[in-house]
Amino acid sequence: MLGKTASGLFWMFRYLERAESTARLLDAGFRIALTRAGSSRSEWESVLTTTGQLQGFRQRHGEATSTTVMEYLLSDRSNPASIISMVKAARDNARAVRIALTREVWEATNESWMTLDKLLSGRIPEADLPDTLTTIRQQNALVRGATNGTMLRNDGYNFLRLGTFVERADNTARILDVKYYLLLPSISQVGSTLDIKQWETILRSVSALRSYTWLHGATVNPRDIAQFLILHEQMPRSLAFCYNKICDNLGYLEKDYDNRTQACEMADSIRTDYLGRSMEMIFDDGLHEYIEDFLASNSRLAKQITADYSFEVTA
């Protein structure tokens, strides 16, 4: 397939994933704001930090409040990292790779864009936020469902899956990066209401509160949460899950093309280095450094994939 097409599929699904992840973060932030209005400012700032938007936000707005953050990350068309901009970017990529998508996937993507374009065109009253965020997730689920149900499992599919999981690993790691201090055993005051709320927020922002409870019962503790988000192989947003999928898809490409690229090697070694350890080792070496290093490795992998599969013209 064309390198440009592979690139379009990869980025289309990166944007969809990031848009959805941003919607989850907003949802979690909104809950905190509702329940503890007094200290919601720091929560909104951490949402902005997680999405890498704090600086851009400060250039345009003053204080981080529900209204300003929501507007900036949801419907501000001049912010390339707002949900509406990312849904548009996904749709533009889809349009450019139209022939590599089934009619169902294209129509779901296009309809999702049309629905959200309309939904996010004016000011959204706070009372409508939960519904709005639900619609965003539902639209995304339609695209995902059409992809799952109709796409040929060929190299194109592998590239769109790579986009999905490289982005998802990045998003989960960023959430950990911003909230790592809450997960450190030494600092956490086990059992205080404040921390439980904070921990719940972390789980909510990866839509995993229920599944965590399912596995661990009512005992919320930071070590288990960190383990759940990093090493748990059944948790669909954990780093381990993402890297299993990344290695699988690079493996299919290796077989299909009969070519073991540097990206294949790199993904395997990231999986071994970062996900082949125990939680104790991770804490001993420093959670924060671990996450920073992981984020850097993950973005190096994305660059390597871009180079190995000719996404772009090189001299």
Partner: protein, 469 residues
């Protein structure tokens, strides 16, 4: 449905009987409700076009009318025979004009018309395109003035567009009114993409090994016809490429794939000659591929349509088409040409200037309905403006009478109303075959009384039925 006589409904053409009966049986709101749904359908599938000069993000819909245009089997057979004859002549003309130029030697058309024409590509002299085909795809614009009078308005021999509308208009009619297709015998148009692939593959270049790799070359997602380019590529299972995906590697044109550069055999290009190759043509082109033309001349790739075909659909040559048909086929033309004044000739110019109020004046190199004067609809000032232009550069223009075009009904809130239409069937030419899918693109001037059907000027489209009778 109505003859040229007007909208009194007394002279319904026989081909429309079955549709009319069906329409009369429909509950009051059904058709208007469906008509509204059609717009959503088109938006959903993204069948839009971008308008030049406006915000690039602005993707517009072309209005769709639910009343089909119907041609009887007999009408179609007559029409398609005439088109086939004309297309054969065009291809023979192109071969001649780029080789021995017998038609010029015979004095049937003036030398100057070729020599001074930008659409003529001297670089094509003496070259035989693969399979001897210049015009793989032609869209012949037809207008009708009476029951048996079809005129050819234009021969689009460069990169005719609109075939996606032919296919999608049928698709939506099938979705909205499936019972119509069970009741009325209507010829299928859905074979077009596979026929296109087949006829392009039949023209693979000498360097091609095995099954030809076919690709559609588009200027990109911002082009007004991008939807169509991706649609055609998708439908025929070909790659959709841009100039930036291509480079010349080892004497072949190759596309950048995830496994390195791979040769392309047949390129169905949707960019103009001028932009194909910055080394051989316009050096400023960002859309083309440096050196592609040299590969083409060496037999490494097929370009469809061939460069230089524009000389055949040039408006300055149009008035000579009856001679061209006769010269190459030895037959009388089956389809008529619209009578045309050549403003380059002084006595004809004088007559045109005298009758500007009743004529249509077209720029020789214009397209898309721009740069055109429709006398009867123009203001005094517009007419004077054209008078000045004509005097300044007479050979830049031709003039034609405003034909008493036949109308077909469209669906409006006030009921059926007559509107002017034209019709573009799509012709596929391969070394041993000429295929015309029974159908085509019917464009309709949605505004009452208007004669301009171009989508960039408020025109719409409708499904076209050829009856299987």
């Amino acid at each position: 449905m109505l003859g040229s006589g007007g909208g009194n409904g007394e002279d319904i053409r026989p081909a429309y009987q079955a549709f009319r009966q069906w329409l009369d049986r429909q509950p009051e709101n059904r058709v208007s409700r469906k008509s509204e749904q059609a717009e959503n359908f088109f938006r959903k599938i993204g069948i839009t076009f971008n308008v030049y000069g406006e915000d690039e993000a602005d993707e517009r819909l072309i209005p769709f009318d639910v009343v089909p245009r119907v041609l009887s089997g007999n009408e179609w057979r007559k029409l398609s025979k005439g088109i086939e004859q004309r297309v054969r002549a065009i291809n023979a003309f192109l071969h001649d004009i780029y080789h021995r130029q017998e038609i010029l030697r015979a004095g049937r058309i003036p030398q100057s018309l070729i020599a001074n024409n930008d659409a003529f590509l001297p670089k094509m002299m003496g070259f035989d395109p693969p399979g001897g085909i210049y015009t793989h795809i032609i869209g012949t614009d037809i207008v009708r003035t009476g029951p048996d009078e079809f005129y050819v308005l234009e021969d689009n021999a460069r990169t005719p567009s609109g075939v996606s509308y032919m296919l999608e208009n049928r698709e939506i009619m099938l979705q909205m009114f499936p019972e119509l297709f069970a009741e009325i015998p209507i010829c299928e148009v859905s074979d077009y993409p596979s026929w296109l692939r087949r006829s392009l593959s039949a023209c693979a270049p000498p360097a091609c090994m095995g099954r030809p790799t076919v690709a559609v070359l588009t200027p990109g997602t911002y082009n007004s016809a991008y939807f169509e380019h991706s649609f055609i590529a998708d439908q025929m299972g070909a790659e959709l490429i841009e100039g930036s995906d291509l480079r010349v590697v080892d004497g072949r044109v190759a596309m950048r794939t995830t496994q390195g550069y791979k040769p392309v055999d047949v390129i169905y290009r949707r960019i103009d000659d001028d932009f194909l190759d910055p080394l051989n043509f316009n050096p400023d082109s960002m859309l083309g591929v440096p050196g592609i033309y040299d590969v083409y001349r060496a037999g490494g790739v097929t370009i469809a349509n061939a460069p230089g075909t524009g000389i055949a659909d040039d408006k300055a040559l149009y008035s000579y088409m009856p001679d061209i048909v006769e010269f190459y086929t030895g037959e009388r033309p089956l389809l008529q040409n619209v009578p045309t004044w050549r403003c380059s000739e002084p006595d004809q110019l004088a007559e045109v200037l005298d009758r500007l109020e009743e004529l249509v004046v077209k720029e020789v190199h214009g397209s898309g309905g721009y740069g055109m004067l429709i006398g009867p609809a123009a203001s005094k000032a517009e007419i004077e403006e054209f008078r000045a232009k004509l005097k300044a550069k007479p050979d830049g223009y031709i003039a034609q009478p405003t034909l008493a075009l036949s109308t077909v009904p469209i669906y409006t809130e006030q009921g059926l109303a007559p509107r002017h239409v034209d019709f573009r069937p799509f012709v596929l030419m391969a070394p041993n075959s000429i295929d015309i899918v029974p159908g085509g693109l019917t464009r309709v001037a949605m505004n009452e009384g208007s004669l301009v059907v171009n989508s960039s000027q408020g025109g719409g489209t409708k499904d076209t039925w050829v009856l299987d009778d």
